[in-house]
């Protein structure tokens, strides 16, 4: 691009001050500035203006942040689980969860089986004790009754076989008569 082709463009001057003009255009502009007082004045004006802007908005006028802001923000960020977006981290977390779940289930199972076995064993022991006591008592009572009845029957039979036979007969007769009397009483009530 020759100097004579150059048209006065204030936008190019701004880009030039920013140091962003391509080398060819920069050379052309510098040549043009030597011959164009208007553009040279514009360059000076824009340069002053941009210096003012840079100075007013410079970093030394940044906001004051609260003390320990960096520490607080870092702690918040590092404890924030929304950051776990990585697929590998998700898989690892899932594996850990499954392992922990299985371990918890196994430990719970062991604890439960222990509790069940112990309680069933102690309950069975108590039930067996009660049953044994009842059986022993029944057995003792039966054997006592047997002994007593044997002694009584031996005494009766030893005194008089006839008397005992007579007693037995009377007993059978009494039972028969009693049943006959009861039947008769009921029949009479039905007739009335």
């Amino acid at each position: 691009m020759s100097t004579s082709d150059y048209t006065c463009e204030t936008e190019n001057i701004a880009v030039y001050i920013d140091g962003e003009l391509e080398p060819a255009r920069r050379t052309a502009l510098e040549e043009h500035l030597k011959q164009c007082p208007s553009c040279a004045t514009e360059l000076q004006t824009q340069r002053v203006f941009m210096c003012e802007l840079n100075s007013a908005l410079a970093n030394r006028y940044e906001l004051a942040v609260p003390p320990n802001f960096a520490r607080t923000v870092a702690v918040h960020a590092e404890s924030d689980m929304r950051g776990v977006r990585n697929l590998a981290e998700h898989k690892r977390a899932l594996r850990f969860c499954i392992i922990l779940g299985l371990a918890a289930f196994a430990l719970l199972g062991v604890a439960t089986s222990k509790a069940v076995v112990l309680s069933v064993r102690s309950m069975a022991g108590k039930v067996l004790g009660v049953v044994g006591l009842f059986a022993k008592t029944t057995f003792d009572a039966a054997s006592g009754v047997t002994v007593i009845s044997r002694v009584v029957s031996r005494g009766l039979i030893a005194d008089s076989r006839l008397a005992s036979m007579a007693g037995l007969f009377v007993l059978v007769l009494a039972i028969a008569v009693l049943s006959f009397l009861i039947a008769r009483y009921h029949r009479a009530r039905l007739i009335e």
């Binding site: 880009v15 003012e52 908005l57 906001l63 960096a70 607080t72 870092a74 918040h76």
Partner: protein, 202 residues
């Protein structure tokens, strides 16, 4: 760097950004804190000039750093970290402005008094210089605040954050021609406003 920084943090002081990112991604303590310490002021300053509210800017800055931490695994070292973090900040600020479109209007209508209450820091200037600078700074800040967001952002990225055109293209996703044109028009708007206000010497 604060005096309460741990020895781990101190050892990261001279490390390059990409080394800090690598150590933070590996979960090493102190790496990410040093990154936050380096970028907290530029990012909060950029966000403040975008949203116009100090408290909202601090909340948004924290949100941006949490997003950065969550995306560290996706960061590619061939790109400049500062450009990458500004891109995240740009997206967060634009989302915030969309959610709070009422605040955007108040930002444009902001008065000069808003600037006097800001907890700004200035270093190494005499009281007289500070007073003069402060007056001029407030005038310029007010004019910058009056610009539409699309123009204001480019002025802030270029003049406050010192980004190149190429970096601004990466951060905003705009074509280079649009960046150049908007920057030029933004500066023209500001010059016109200074002329209207009768401010000379700019």
């Amino acid at each position: 760097m604060s005096s309460s920084a741990s020895p781990d943090v101190l050892s990261f002081g001279s490390a390059a950004d990409r080394d800090l990112v690598a150590s933070a991604a590996q979960g090493l303590e102190g790496g990410f804190e040093e990154l936050v310490r380096r970028y907290q002021r530029p990012i909060s300053g950029y966000v403040y000039r975008m949203v116009g509210d100090y408290e909202a800017a601090l909340d948004l800055t924290q949100e941006i750093f949490i997003k950065v931490y969550g995306s560290l695994a996706r960061y590619r070292p061939e790109f400049k970290f500062s450009t990458w973090i500004y891109k995240i900040a740009h997206n967060a600020a634009i989302d915030h402005l969309r959610r709070n479109s009422g605040r955007e209007r108040s930002l444009i209508k902001g008065t000069e008094d808003d600037n006097y209450d800001l907890p700004l820091e200035s270093e190494g200037l005499s009281p007289e210089q500070q007073s003069e600078r402060e007056e001029r700074r407030v005038e310029i800040e007010t004019v910058v605040r009056s610009l539409p967001t699309a123009y204001r952002e480019l002025v802030v990225l270029r003049h406050s954050q010192d980004l190149t055109y190429e970096e601004i293209v990466e951060v905003t996703g705009l074509p280079l021609g649009t960046v150049k044109n908007r920057l030029f028009r933004a500066r023209e708007m500001m010059r016109q406003q200074f002329l209207c206000k009768g401010i000379t010497g700019i």
